[in-house]
């Protein structure tokens, strides 16, 4: 590859004119090979070595901290956004639900079963020996005082997340008269407690409150 060569470099100044003193320039030329790999050459030379290493370590660690700080928003952006969180509570009017009926509604994009238990169903739920249950809870634990007939649970089987049957009219209610999950055969009783099958816990009762006699706030 061709470059025009002249034997002398006088005339035009080279691109980077020497900035530092001549002494420094000489030193640079002499220490040339050692400087090729300063990390080796520096080892145990002068007291300045420690300070130098410290600067590099500080720079690299500072860069690491910065990268971690930038990573935070890049990760947190995946969590629920403000509009999703804004829908985190709903209000449902339950006045029209007759004893023995239930409705399915949607809360946080998940099904919620609201069931008006008949006195017989309440009695059946209270008859059960709580100590013998897989997930011991009484009906009272799962409802609000004075409103024991209102059973509100997530319609999400605690096994692997299918929607159990039994909320809509005519659906199979399982061997214990509550809900039945067809995916893997979990049976829930009239308090939506797990009685038979693989599900480990009772259907989850979401946080809810009666804000009037007939309006429930879920979430």
């Amino acid at each position: 590859m061709s470059t025009v060569k002249k034997t002398k470099t006088t005339g035009k100044k080279p691109v980077k004119a020497p900035k530092a003193s001549a002494a420094k320039a000489g030193k640079a030329a002499i220490s040339n090979t050692a400087a090729e790999n300063p990390s080796v050459a520096d080892n145990g030379q002068t007291p300045g070595v420690r300070r130098r290493d410290f600067i590099h370590i500080a720079t690299v660690s500072f860069a690491g901290v910065g990268a971690a700080a930038v990573a935070m928003p890049l990760v947190s952006q995946m969590s629920a956004s403000a509009d999703v969180l804004a829908l985190a509570s709903i209000e449902v009017d339950v006045a029209a639900i007759q004893p023995g009926q239930s409705i399915k509604t949607s809360w946080r994009k998940q099904p919620v079963f609201i069931r008006n238990l008949t006195p017989a169903e309440v009695e059946e739920a209270n008859k059960v020996d709580v100590g013998a249950l897989r997930d011991p809870q009484t009906l009272a634990d799962r409802t609000k005082p004075g409103k024991e007939n209102w059973l509100i649970t997530l319609g999400v089987c605690t096994h692997l997340g299918c929607v159990p049957l039994g909320a809509a009219a005519g659906e199979v209610k399982g061997e214990y008269g509550g809900y039945f999950c067809p995916c893997h055969g979990s049976h829930y009783d009239t308090a939506a407690r797990i009685r038979k099958g693989p599900a480990p816990t009772n259907l989850v009762v979401p946080e809810f409150a009666f804000i009037s006699d007939t309006v429930v706030k879920i979430g």
Binding site: T3, V4, K6, T9, P14, K16, A35, L74, Q77
Partner: protein
């Protein structure tokens, strides 16, 4: 690698040895950007911009992938999904502003990188392939940026898509069918938006692939340097790591300060207000302009106002519209021929007195003028200026450069890089 004195990767410890024998990736990195890559010792700050362009691409890919998690490519939902990102997604405003301004900074960095190549003759033998791949990357970047600008489906997005695909309709006979094929319809709509999104997601990875080739080609002859004098001995070089990693780290800090200042304090400075109006196919904004980085080319497009034909017969051979489009593409494509247009054996503009004059007093003002005129409405004074500047642009590359390289008498070159740096000849310095 090229230089016999390049340090060899020596795996330390059994695990490193085990990996090295099976997949020598650490060795590859060591030889590419580690101590195994000898680099001229006299590189100035203009040589930071290659690495910075890589950083800018990474910023774009990372923020882009995140935006794609929240964006919908739908003519009804795209605009609102961008605003959803700006308002409701956690830190979404930051990611979107970073992506938006990241595109501009990518172009700023790449333009400086190209400018460095033009001035220091980095396109000359034996580095032609690096240059050709670089121009390819630039073209891919322009396509990617254009398609990305369409995605928010604002007024400028829509009308930009309309105008830019309109270039193709200038081509005789096949133009209009070609345009309809590109858009998947008669005007930009759902089909166009969807394909632009798909391609906008794909292209950065194509760019990354071409960058790998670009860097590979770079490692054959090694980096050029401000003197343009080839490396002659070990003294002329330093290992990339730690010398240039440290310098690039500092350069990165400066770059990020500028980037952050614009992204956080003037995020819409480089954008256009009309793109905050949802696309309306029935009403064009009063004054449509592309993003700033396309303005010089847009000015060239607009500068052609007369048809080419046989005088006094009314026969038109090339319409002004088609010529504008040809010239606009030509203004970029001519860069592919640069290594063969500039035949001077001297690389660096420092040692080329005549070239340097045309570069600083011709090309640079001409490009600034084109950028400025590109953003102006079509008033007479701006048309006149852009016609002068565009004419100079073509004359510079296609006529002046070949002639200058022939007639110019270069200044004496230093014997070696070491001599240019230390003022002492190579042999003496070695002592």
């Amino acid at each position: 690698m090229s230089f016999p004195w390049a340090q060899e990767y020596k795996p330390q410890g059994t695990v490193s040895k085990w990996v090295d024998e099976r997949l020598p990736l650490p060795r590859l990195v060591y030889n590419a950007v580690g101590a195994g890559y000898p680099v001229p010792r006299n590189l100035n700050y203009f040589w930071n911009f290659g690495v910075l362009a890589g950083v800018a691409l990474v910023i774009q890919i990372v923020t882009g992938i995140i935006l794609a998690m929240h964006y919908y490519a739908s003519v009804d939902g795209a605009f609102n999904s961008v605003e959803h990102i700006m308002r409701d997604v956690n830190s979404g405003w930051f990611i979107r502003y970073a992506h938006m301004n990241g595109a501009s900074f990518f172009f700023i960095v790449v333009y400086i990188h190209i400018f460095r190549g033009l001035f220091y003759g980095s396109y000359k033998a034996p580095r032609e392939m690096i240059w050709l791949l670089g121009v390819t990357i630039f073209l891919l970047m322009m396509a990617t940026a254009f398609m990305g600008y369409v995605l928010p489906w604002g007024q400028m997005s829509f009308w930009g898509a309309q105008v830019i695909t309109g270039f193709f309709s200038a081509i005789p006979v096949v133009g209009e069918p070609l345009r309809q094929w590109l858009l998947g319809g008669f005007a930009p709509d759902q089909a166009a938006l969807n394909r632009f999104f798909s391609l906008h997601y794909l292209m950065p990875f194509v760019i990354a692939g071409v960058i790998i080739l670009h860097v590979w080609a770079l490692h054959i002859p090694g980096s050029s340097n401000p003197t343009g004098v080839s490396v002659k001995s070990e003294q002329d070089t330093v290992p990339f790591h730690p010398y240039y990693t440290a310098k690039d780290g500092f350069g990165l800090g400066i770059f990020l300060i500028f980037f952050v200042a614009v992204t956080f304090f003037a995020p819409n400075m480089l954008g256009h207000p009309d793109n905050y109006i949802p696309a309306n196919p029935l009403s064009t904004p009063a004054h449509i302009v592309p993003e700033w980085y396309f303005l010089p080319f847009y000015a060239i497009l607009k500068a052609f106002t007369v048809d080419f034909g046989i005088p006094f017969t009314g026969i038109i051979i090339i319409e002004a519209k088609l010529m504008g489009v040809l010239a606009m593409f030509g203004s970029i494509l001519l860069l592919f021929f640069l290594p063969w247009l500039d035949t001077s054996p001297v690389r660096s503009g420092h040692y080329r007195p005549l070239f340097r004059k045309f570069f600083w007093f011709g090309l640079i003002p001409c490009i600034i003028l084109l950028t400025y005129c590109g953003g102006k409405p079509p008033y007479t004074q701006w048309v006149i200026l852009s016609q002068i500047a565009a004419a100079y642009y073509f004359i510079h590359f296609l006529i002046i450069l070949p002639i200058v390289s022939r007639i110019e008498r270069p200044l004496p070159l230093p014997n070696s890089i070491t001599e240019a740096v230390t003022g002492k000849p190579l042999e003496k310095a070695a002592a």
